[in-house]
Symmetry: D4
Subunit: 232 residues, 8 copies
């Protein structure tokens, strides 16, 4: 594991508005420590994702104590400076208990990027009254991240009721024909509700980045005045 085998993209923050993050699932402990070393040298805050508890425990104590680790989302913050957050711009909605992991990954990624969020958990359509109770609250957010596995009917129903950006995160919940999330993903892609976009399976991190992009788009156009007709 030599230093030159890893080359981080520290200019991403300036280019895209959010920094590079490291997906730890297929990285060795040595590789993760080298990444932290380079981030430390660059004085860049850094986000680790898919860091399971076992691998987190295997990091050298000097690194581990500099991390803010959160087990349900398998994320760790390095060099994170909290800020007072504005009103929530992103609602993160889940269908069932087994979808909690990717939802937490999205919530933590947004927190790391100083975006306030509203979590709405366990409102799947099998008992649709749970969703209907909260749909007006959800619809007030400019961006909604809808996290669902199995048949992923939730994003379709939300997409038919909510005017803002809807980002679907299919999850690997379920078994058999759930195919580790492929059925959920395909159902989201062919949703009968138009204008839903989709991320990779369980990709709460990517959904959060997409939300940041959509929110940034706002700022780019804010000074131009209204560009679309409002939903009445």
């Amino acid at each position: 594991m030599t230093r030159k085998e890893i080359r981080l993209d520290f200019e991403r923050e300036a280019r895209l508005g959010f920094g590079e993050a490291a997906l730890c699932a297929q990285k060795t402990v040595a590789q993760i420590e080298e990444i932290l070393r380079q981030a430390g040298d660059a004085r860049a805050p850094f986000l680790l994702t898919r860091l399971d508890e076992e691998k987190h425990s295997a990091l050298a104590p000097e690194w581990r104590e500099r991390l803010d680790y959160h087990a349900p989302s398998r994320t760790a913050f390095f060099g994170f400076a909290p800020e007072t957050l504005a009103v929530p711009c992103v609602a993160v909605v889940t269908a069932g208990t087994s979808d909690a992991g990717p939802a937490h990954e999205a919530l933590r990624t947004l927190e790391f990027n100083h975006i306030a969020t509203t979590p709405v958990f366990d409102v799947g359509v099998a008992g649709i009254w749970r969703l209907m109770e909260r749909v007006d609250e959800i619809a007030r957010h400019p961006v909604v991240i809808a996290v669902a596995g199995m048949d992923a009917a939730l994003p379709s129903v939300i997409g038919g009721l909510v005017p803002g950006a809807v980002i679907a995160v299919p999850t690997s919940a379920g078994y058999g024909l759930a195919r580790d999330g492929e059925t959920a993903l395909n159902a989201c892609l062919v949703s009968c509700a138009p204008g839903i976009t989709v991320t990779n399976i369980d990709n709460g991190y990517g959904a959060a980045c997409a939300a940041i992009r959509a929110l940034r788009a706002m700022q780019m156009v804010a000074e131009r005045g209204s560009v679309v007709r409002a939903a009445e």
Copy 2:
């Protein structure tokens, strides 16, 4: 074909900010005409997509003459009232000549919803200088729709260079392992550039709707001031 077999969702415009559209590919001529009849009765502008030239020609003349038909996108406008458009908010970028169809579908859907666009055609990464020449122009748009088939490397490269919302439309261009667009779609979903979201294959219409959602999100939050740090 009785009237009650079709029930349009004319309240969608009020709920979501864009009206219902009819995907004509699997509909009969009789069904399409009934849809237009109901739209006419409701005095609702209506968009037809995937209307190929043969089926368009088979419509009764009384309907055909009330349509603004555009062959490259296979779309038709019904009851469309043009507006003077603002500065372009959406760039629609294609990789190759065979990606033109879905790109035109997106452009027409945005036009129907009174959003100004910038088309940037034929800038695939096999000759990456074509993209590099125009990347600054593209990056000024709050929303970029990247349309590409085959290996779909274009959205990844754009995603690494552009800060706004990036919506990838994989296309069915190519043959063999292109698998009618599945390889392009999968490549977009696992893009190494974070925060890209994806639509169904060839779904220019859906990408345009997603762009409208993202632009609407802006308005919802505009009065709140800045919510994310700007890319410097």
Copy 3:
């Protein structure tokens, strides 16, 4: 095409309560005519399915005039004797216009077997108010056939609201990742609403047969009194 290449199962009516039917899609005109000849000899009413208009027209006039043909369902009745029907026991519900074909196939198969039906068309979840308006009516039927393509969210929502038997018929509506109905089928199989059962793609005929089986089950057990607690 000799006579002995086809051997019909005329004892099925006695065994199962509904007769054999012929799926015409992959049969030649000569094979279909031989089937009708044997059915005529046996004085057995007979149902033809997947008989498209072109193949119907190619049948010899002597056979064609003895058929009651219905184009939207691609079915034909041979030797059918209408009966006065009881109150409707099966609701056939569709999500969108492109799901009409399999729904009509189910409706005609039930009619051929003298079961009264209630069709409820075009109530997909993208505009969920259309379904909510009619859900109480649907729930009064002991059997509901839910016909939906693309993401097939409709059967899940119905399954969460209706206490009787719910049979999902996924359809080949849609394109791209709809995969000719596989995504709809998989979504039905992993539905978050429990107790939904599923048929092959576009298999309105099979769903109708399953409905007949479920209704027959009633008669087998009717004399035994209540076997399950009623939904209150």
Copy 4:
């Protein structure tokens, strides 16, 4: 793991006639305990499925001692009140020894809902005399759950011999092209015997719920008299 991350649907019993159950396979021990806590507070009987022995052992003793656990089916009853059962309405038939798990899951779910059952094990078609010996007994049940993996020929043969509702549960028995149950599932979906419906792979729980729905359908229609012609 906070309380609000889990929201149970206790109104399901009233709506559908059977209560919510928790699929434990992808839930953490903390999540399962929170579910039991809420069920205990609501004084609702509750069913746990896919609870393997290891996870069962990891539950806190206070919860474990309130559970009626059954290892072969991986199910546990919470707050279950036995009832004297009526004559069996559901036959649960398996092809081979490796299909026993999902069959037990169906049997236990039916028991939890106070439905009497007849198990018929190990009668696969490779030695078809085993099935033929018992086919008359099976045919007397209004609902038959046929559990089979590999080529799943059993449901097809049963479907050709039995007039009541036939619910096929494909299983993950087998290796290689058995593809963890997909081949069995597909074979059931395209069965040559009409009117068979299908559940997800290994989904004994879902088949039992479908059986309850079919039995309830009976009660809804019982007072109306005969709706279909009896098999003679």
Copy 5:
């Protein structure tokens, strides 16, 4: 189309006991004519398969009149010398009407190689009495070719009842999850009846060649006396 682009393997007859045949489906008319020219020059009898009627009609009359063409099997014999056949050694059994094509291909290939056959058509397991009536007759053949599509339960049932070689030919009959024969093929490969072997989808020709190989195996070992215990 030059002569040297085609090189036939006329030594195959001596090596394997059956000559080369040409699969015409993807060959041009010019290629087929060149093949017949070379076969004529070599005075070798030759078998054409998958020669549809349209392509057959497009052959030059001089070639067409030298062919013995059979439309249901899409085969043609060139230079064929009939022989008086021995008692039938191969039973060719089909499940349904749509399986007739590959069965005829097998029957014709065996006829071309002077093997007597017994066709048994339309005995699928949905009405299993049709098979049971003839199972003793089938079991007297040393080789059974079982042709079935959809769920392909027929080869499994035969495999459990017949002691000789059982060669399954899955067919492309069916629709939806039949997947053009893949489900039938997979079901055959994972059959619960042991010792069944399988060919490609619709490959009646290959099954016939396999039967010839199995019959030849007999002759190779005949002089050695009994090698296995007889089924009693």
Copy 6:
């Protein structure tokens, strides 16, 4: 684990000429012991397959000591009586070292059924001289079992050189696009050498049963004299 959950098919030996065997991979230790108990009671020799070393060790000593266990093939003989064998009728040929497991399973199954064999290992086509050295020896066997993974080119080359029955056993050797043996299986099914038949992946047991069937076919026809022309 009650006795009636397992019902063995002891009549198979009389019907098919080889007895039932138990695939142990998905069976519990309790189920395997019950099977042995029933076989012991019936005084039937019995074959266990896919019995890995760990599960073998977990059997009660009283059963373990009555088994003839063979680790490379993962098979065990119960109640086996050796016989003096005739000249070898079956050649079992492998492509590479990783194909040894299924080959051993075939060899042991044949030994259990008193068929003499010739093993020919490690003659894959990447160094085709190894196969060419032994092809004449192989061709003298009436039945050849060709065991190969990855691209499975070996059965095609053998099929072009050997006149007897050729049974291909694709194996799960390889990685990536080898797809656990599916590529090998598909390559065998579409082999350019005609008359090859195929078993499930790694199914050495099934190939051996098929060989027994083919050898038995010989005896059924031996008295009838020559049925096919000999390869010269």
Copy 7:
């Protein structure tokens, strides 16, 4: 069809050593004519591939007469200047008659780039003597393009016998499990002969480009002297 929708990469010749080519399969006639117009303006020789006869006929005569069209390969040369060729550096070898199309595409692409070739047709391994006769001749070429469909055993056998670069082109020849060339492709990718590389299905053009790249590599290193040990 406006001019700016197509942007050719005329600098490719200088960068890569071979110019851009247009895959015509999914292009309209208008798009192809615009491409030729731009190529004509730039005085760049241009290659069209996948131009079927029907589309070729539909081009305006002024363009058609400037093309050198070749039907078996579906290619056309525009502005091509023949050169006297050196000794052949690339052997193009096919397995069967149905593989001729992609082989011709490779041969024509090499001719367009002034590379001499040796075609070796119809030497598939089912009659391996045909290949063995010519293997020494093939092995003298620095680059071998092996074109084969179905089981694609040919590239593996060649790869074990030939020391130079071996580029496999899987083809869509075959039916059923050939899966339009996927089985051939996968078999090539997992070939037991090491160092084979693979192109997309039927991609004769890409194989030719890869051959040009390999040959160019020679020139880049020629002056450095020997870099690898010669095969003795």
Copy 8:
């Protein structure tokens, strides 16, 4: 484990210019030791690949001490004699940290065959400036091995910029729709940059062998003078 079960192809070095190597992933420790024994007897240098650390540790000490083991590549050299290397002919380029394993396998295989290399790590297109900085250096190598997982956009971009042979190695990096490397592989196969060839997933060994073949091709043609026009 008897000696004759393994037959190595020691003549491969003479035929192809590189010796046989053993893929250890599916081999037992006993098989690997037998391979080393035979290699030792033949005094042939030998390469082991996919030898993970656990299996390496399980080898007998007498073998282990004769191996030069390298954990990141999971390779071991046996009987290796280092040579002074020439200037680098092969650049091995990776997209991300998780692609390092296959890249190291390629580097070690080339080292074992005495080819000098240039590693260029972590230059994926999400931060394309990292690649652009080094593209001129990469382009000077006659052969480039491009190693990338996920969307594998790197080989396409390199293929558009580099004139020599480009061999893509898709890797199993990523999750969800990355499908263990299939998406990367498919994206490489349908790359928009022409003339790229592809190996199996993670097959660094195969890519190195292909590089050796391409370099050898050079020597075969070196004496003939220039065969292609140089990129200017």
